[in-house]
């Protein structure tokens, strides 16, 4: 309950009474700021390279898939570009079995956990190997095995879900936490308010990670909120909060690591606001030239988080230009190969239209499916995708090289 001292002279507060600084460790030239904390990553070459690799995996995937979209090979795409340090730095600071509940621009976290290009591609093309069975738009990845919740388009819905998930983790007592990512735009939704308040009241081990990348589609952050970013909202819930340079892999990593300790050891939620920038268009359907300047973009391009980390690695002698070149090339080759494989793969079978609505297909749904199949049999050429799986032989052939369910990120 609220207990405060009294005053007898009228004065409004405005938020100018305090100041939320930005935590930064690494300069753009790859050297640490003077007096900067030295994070344990500084001693951990293996982890540093795992992080860096995931950043490149993500960047190359994004570049190639956006190109594929432009060529008409893919219906839709969204890039993580510019935000790789925020997303991957946070994921790397967690235990690999902690739950990640992301918004949609966090493929980097999934790459860090080991999602393969094949797995990405199968989702992007919604083919028969897609864990999501071709039901959602491209970029709606999920992996049970990697503890990465399947993406859902309605914004901010995952935030209170993360609070609930983490509450379950606390009850289970296995020392895990949940991180949820969201944009500064999504943080305007009512679900955000609900999630943070409930997490604080019920002492839940959850990390709320806001990617403040300056825009929600065309809407700049200053039309999204009047305040000094997202961070001061934590005061409304009595929650630990830190603002970090989202393009600084060391700062993000260190802050998230500390946040995880608070979450798991004290069962207290933490809010992290990562200041970053969406370097690419919102999505393949968007053209940012209508609402922001080239100059602004260029200024942020200079703060590229991958370049910053690369310089740090190189300075430490952990990475070289040759290694960079070789990795880039091999990743590009791999993307193209997996892309070709995935786009040729057949779609999920027609039965997948009605499965998973419920644990078991209801009689009414079976009835609707049967009617649909009869209809398709009448017009097989009009529904080539669906018609394919009507014929058990074709079906069997397609399924031949399909790995067993439990190898697929399934339970």
């Amino acid at each position: 309950m609220t207990t405060t001292e009294d005053v007898h002279a009228l004065a409004f507060m405005t938020g100018d009474e305090f100041h939320i600084p930005t935590y930064r460790l690494l300069q753009q030239d790859g050297t640490l700021f003077e007096g900067a904390d030295v994070p344990d990553l500084d001693q951990d070459q293996e982890k540093a390279l795992r992080i860096y690799r995931a950043m490149l995996v993500t960047r190359v995937l994004d570049e190639r898939m956006m190109a594929a979209q432009r060529q008409g090979r893919l219906s839709f795409y969204m890039q993580c570009t510019g935000e790789e340090a925020a997303v991957i730095g946070a994921a790397a600071a967690l235990d690999d079995a902690d739950m990640i509940m992301a918004q949609y621009r966090e493929q980097g976290a999934l790459a860090y956990r080991g999602f393969t290009y094949d797995e990405f591609m199968n989702q992007l093309f919604g083919n028969e190997l897609d864990y999501g069975k071709g039901r959602q738009m491209p970029i709606h990845y999920g992996s049970r095995k990697l503890h990465y919740m399947t993406i859902s388009s309605p914004l901010a819905t995952q935030i209170p879900q993360a609070t609930g998930y983490a509450y379950g983790q606390k009850m289970a007592g296995e020392g895990h936490c949940t991180i949820t990512f969201f944009g500064e735009g999504a943080a305007s939704e009512g679900d955000f308010h609900a999630a943070l308040n409930m997490a604080a009241v019920h002492e839940v081990p959850v990390i709320f990670f806001c990617r403040n990348n300056g825009y929600a589609i065309s809407t700049p952050a200053h039309e999204q909120f009047a305040a000094d970013g997202i961070a001061p909202r934590a005061f409304g819930y009595r929650m630990h909060v830190i603002r970090v340079d989202g393009n600084d892999i060391l700062a993000v990593y260190r802050a998230t690591q500390a946040a995880r300790a608070i979450a798991v050891e004290k069962n207290q939620p933490v809010l992290i606001e990562a200041m970053t920038y969406r370097l690419a268009a919102h999505s393949s359907s968007d053209d940012p030239s209508g609402y922001r300047s080239r100059k602004e973009e260029d200024a942020w391009r200079e703060k590229d988080p991958i370049l910053r980390m690369q310089r740090w690695l190189t300075a430490k002698g952990w990475w070289s230009d040759d290694e960079e070149k070789a990795l880039q090339e091999s990743l590009r080759r791999e993307v193209l190969e997996t892309l070709k494989r995935a786009e040729k793969r057949p779609p999920p079978p027609i039965d997948s239209l009605v499965s998973d609505v419920y644990a078991d297909v209801t009689p009414a749904l079976q009835h609707q499916l049967d009617a649909l199949k009869r209809h398709i049999r009448r017009y097989p050429d009009e529904y080539p995708k669906g018609a394919r799986s009507l014929d058990p032989d074709v079906r069997a052939e397609g399924a031949a090289d399909k790995p067993a369910d439990d190898e697929q990120g399934g339970a």
Partner: protein, 325 residues
Amino acid sequence: MPTMNMLQAINNALDIAMAEDERVICFGEDVGVFGGVFRATSHLQERYGKARCFNTPLVEQGIIGFANGLAAQGSVPVAEIQFADYIFPAFDQIVNETAKFRYRSGDLFNVGGLTIRTPYGGGISGGHYHSQSPEAYFAHTPGLKVVVPRNPYQAKGLLLASIRDPDPVLFFEPKRLYRASTGEVPEGDYQLPIGEAEVTKEGTDVTVLGWGAQMEVIDRAVELAEKAGISCEVIDLRSILPWDEDTVAESVLKTGRLLITHEAPRTGGFAGEIAAAIQERCFLYLESPIARVTGLDTPFPLTLEKEYMPDHLKVYEAIRASVEF
């Protein structure tokens, strides 16, 4: 067998579910110490601790968002929404999230453990916002199950089945019957099937169909009709989604007439769906148009509530009109 009212039966079902499975967690506005404004969760916090039965902040979208996440994690949340009229702030979490969780993830994740309990319906002088019957909104949402019990025995058996069902269930409790309806209820564990209607009375002239509190209204109307020499078959649908088309169709093939009644406004109410499906299936057997006795197409009123309600006299008149068509 002990006699219980509906609240006691519900409380008893929750008690059994919580005792049996420690993953069952009950929460909502005022459900903790106080046991809920209707006392459906009385003593559960005492018995199972604050971690498993607690008050939430006052935010329905948060309650269901939290519940979705908790269910995805593998717990078995039983979330209470204080009145069905206040479920709408959670509509997005229910319709876009709960309902589509399994499908959209290709069954990687699901929230099948979730049960949402909420009191619904009129007849308690509650006006607009303590009387609504919103089942039809949810019945248009594949992925959800929607269950409505008519008495204490049904409430206990259906609630236990809902909590254990592998799919998310909305459990609408007819609050007008909370204390008014009493009956024998076994002390022990039992379940009643979800998705199956029950023929509560056999008859030959007309099938009269409803659910929840409306079953009591039907019984009174049918009593009048039987006195007037009309033989009625009465069906309690019990599950609105998925609903038991076979049982209803079978009955209508026999009687040739169907009357459906619910409290919600007529337009877009679930009676429309049933009528549409049954006229298709029983077309050549229908001897009169399928009739609906429902609330008016208005918000729920107060002073003239009695006039508004689809009561036994209106149902009776409609039975007569159907038979005399």
